[in-house]
């Protein structure tokens, strides 16, 4: 198992956001976490990526315990993520956004950068090339020199993925990547997620778009009010009585 959560609990004040949740993500898989709003999906992401710490339970990544480590350390160890509400660097260009994604692949510090020491030149060139490649992957090279803020939402989501990819994650956490996308863009996203898996990147996905989720995910975990109510292949999840009850009234194939 690449990622293994064991008995995770976390509450905010009186609200039990996650209650004794255990789930695991096999290496190279696409796993989805679904559930109604407020089920604790984003909280789960924040725990795995180091933005929150669990009150109980343990998280293993590549076989090592990682809870308690700050977000930037986990990022450097290969946990990449996107955000439910897109978090771009609005005052920077599209290319620069992705160049920040390459941060952990570079070495140049403040002084070296300020003095433009000769050894930083090849590194800058590499960062530029890597960033460009990530933009090519999501098809945003024609927007490279626009400010991130002016992109439409669909392209912002793609840029966020490109930026996360530039950091060469082992596992990529995608938090509702299809929300705000139109049908064509969602189709493109679907192909992209599959292509990433083929490149060997493990994907953990939170998504409300059920057809996309059922389409790409090999395993689905279902959260409801902070509890894990089901975990298994899509077909089994669709027939799971508790899941159907939790989703009563919603259209599976929407």
């Amino acid at each position: 198992m690449l990622l293994d959560l064991q008995g995770i609990s976390l509450s905010f004040g009186g609200v039990q956001a996650l209650d004794d949740v255990s789930l695991s993500v096999p290496s190279g898989a696409i796993k989805a976490v679904i559930g109604p709003n407020g089920a604790g999906k984003t909280t789960l992401f924040n725990l795995v990526s180091g933005f929150l710490q669990p009150q109980e339970g343990r998280i293993f990544f590549k076989g090592e315990e990682i809870q308690g480590q700050p977000a930037h350390v986990l990022a450097a160890r290969g946990i990449g993520r996107t955000f439910q509400l897109v978090q771009l660097f609005d005052h920077m260009t599209v290319l620069e956004n992705v160049m920040v994604g390459c941060h952990r692949r570079g070495r140049a510090g403040l002084l070296a950068g300020a003095l433009r020491l000769p050894w930083t030149f090849p590194e800058e060139k590499d960062i530029r090339r890597w960033a460009w490649e990530a933009l090519e992957f999501v098809g945003l090279t024609n927007r490279a020199h626009h400010f991130a803020a002016v992109l439409p939402l669909g392209l912002k989501r793609l840029l966020e993925i490109a930026r996360a990819l530039a950091a060469q994650p082992t596992i990529l956490l995608l938090d509702e990547p299809a929300s705000g996308l139109d049908a064509v863009e969602t189709e493109r996203l679907r192909d992209m997620i599959l292509a990433l898996r083929d490149q060997g990147i493990t994907i953990l996905l939170v998504e409300h778009d059920m057809s996309l989720t059922m389409d790409v995910a090999e395993e689905i975990a279902v959260l409801n009010y902070g509890r894990l109510i089901a975990d298994g292949p899509p077909r089994a999840i669709q027939k799971h009585p508790e899941v159907i009850a939790a989703y009563l009234g919603t259209d599976w194939q929407a």
């Binding site: 933005f51 771009l88 660097f89 290319l95 920040v100 996360a164 950091a167």
Partner: protein, 326 residues
């Protein structure tokens, strides 16, 4: 593609920098009036301070309300070491940098661990403490009446004691500081800094140690202030606490805002405008503060991103309209 564009950028930058140096040199040749030259020298000293503060504020999104204190620490370290102990001015300048670096580290470590505006609070307190110490530590600082007898800097036997000679030293320093700062902004660390200003969470998710980076840039901007302070002490040959009070910290923040947050060249403009303005407005005496405030208000309302950015924005907007983007 990306690389060709990078080369073009360096070429453009190179032209801009040489042009600036040529202009500065030309000014020195044309201007013989000592008053204007010393005014320019003070603009230069302020510009160094403002660029440093802008790296912290405009790019990093952290506010320092005590930058006058770092300026003062640099000035007094240089002043006391040279006037009272006969230390070589250049060594004293380095001592000032070390003192300010340590002070910034000690303030920054606890203040920057917390989110929000703790750095503003901590530096505000620090500024007041330094101001009190400068006033009260009579045996070393000379108290409110100041410290005189600070020798001039000298370069290879040439004493830099006239405005004209100092002009070259100060503006060469300004040139270097602007260049270094522009380099920094466009480097790996500079990008991470701008990134954390826009979204700290996203920056952390990409492996940027934001707490460490904020501390680094805070210390870096304090070093600029110290350098400016040392130059100030050797230019005036006299320092007094009144120059390093809270109002001057606020004035520096105003220079940053007026010139434009996150604008290196704006810093130069902000420093120039707010250094010249009081000189021009001195005739108004009683109304100086009012006119000052009115101009500021107008700029903040109509050009909230500062003079340089504001004008660039207007141009950008026209371009967008022409190209039909958006």
């Amino acid at each position: 593609m990306g690389d060709a564009l990078g080369e073009g950028f360096i070429r453009r930058l190179f032209n801009r920098w040489t042009l600036f140096a040529a202009m500065a040199a030309l000014v020195a040749v044309v201007l013989e009036n000592n008053y204007y030259l010393s005014l320019l020298n003070f603009i230069g000293i302020h510009a160094i301070l403002v660029v440093g503060l802008n790296l912290l504020m405009g790019y990093g999104g952290q506010i320092s309300l005590g930058h006058a204190a770092f300026f003062g620490l640099g000035a007094y370290t240089s002043g006391i070491l040279t006037a009272s102990y006969g230390v070589n001015p250049w060594l004293a300048l380095i001592a000032g940098l070390i003192v300010c670096g340590i002070a910034a580290f000690l303030i920054g470590v606890p203040a920057l661990k917390l989110h929000g505006y703790y750095l503003a609070m901590a530096t505000l307190g620090f500024g007041i403490i330094v101001y009190i110490v400068l006033n009260e530590a009579l045996p070393w600082t000379g108290g409110p009446s100041g410290l005189s007898g600070i020798p001039s800097l000298s370069l290879g036997g040439l004493k830099l004691d006239t405005p004209w000679r100092l002009y070259f030293l100060i503006w060469l320093t300004v040139w270097a500081i602007l260049l270094i700062s522009a380099n920094l902004v466009d480097s790996r660390t500079g990008r991470a800094l701008r990134a954390l200003h826009d979204s700290e969470a996203a920056a952390r998710s990409l492996g940027v140690d934001t707490a460490r980076l904020k501390l680094q840039v805070f210390i870096w901007s304090a070093l600029y202030a110290s350098l400016a302070g040392s130059l100030y002490a050797h230019t005036l040959n006299f320092v007094a606490p009144a120059s390093f009070g809270f109002m001057f910290s606020i004035k520096l923040v105003t220079m940053v805002v007026l010139g434009g947050m996150a604008s290196i060249w704006g810093s130069l403009l902000g420093a120039a405008v707010l250094t010249v303005l009081p000189e021009l407005l001195a005739v108004f005496h009683d109304y100086e503060t009012i006119v000052f405030g009115a101009i500021l208000m107008v700029v903040m309302i109509f050009l909230p991103r500062g003079l340089v950015r504001g004008i660039l924005d207007l141009r950008e907007l026209r371009k967008y309209k022409r190209e039909g983007v958006r």
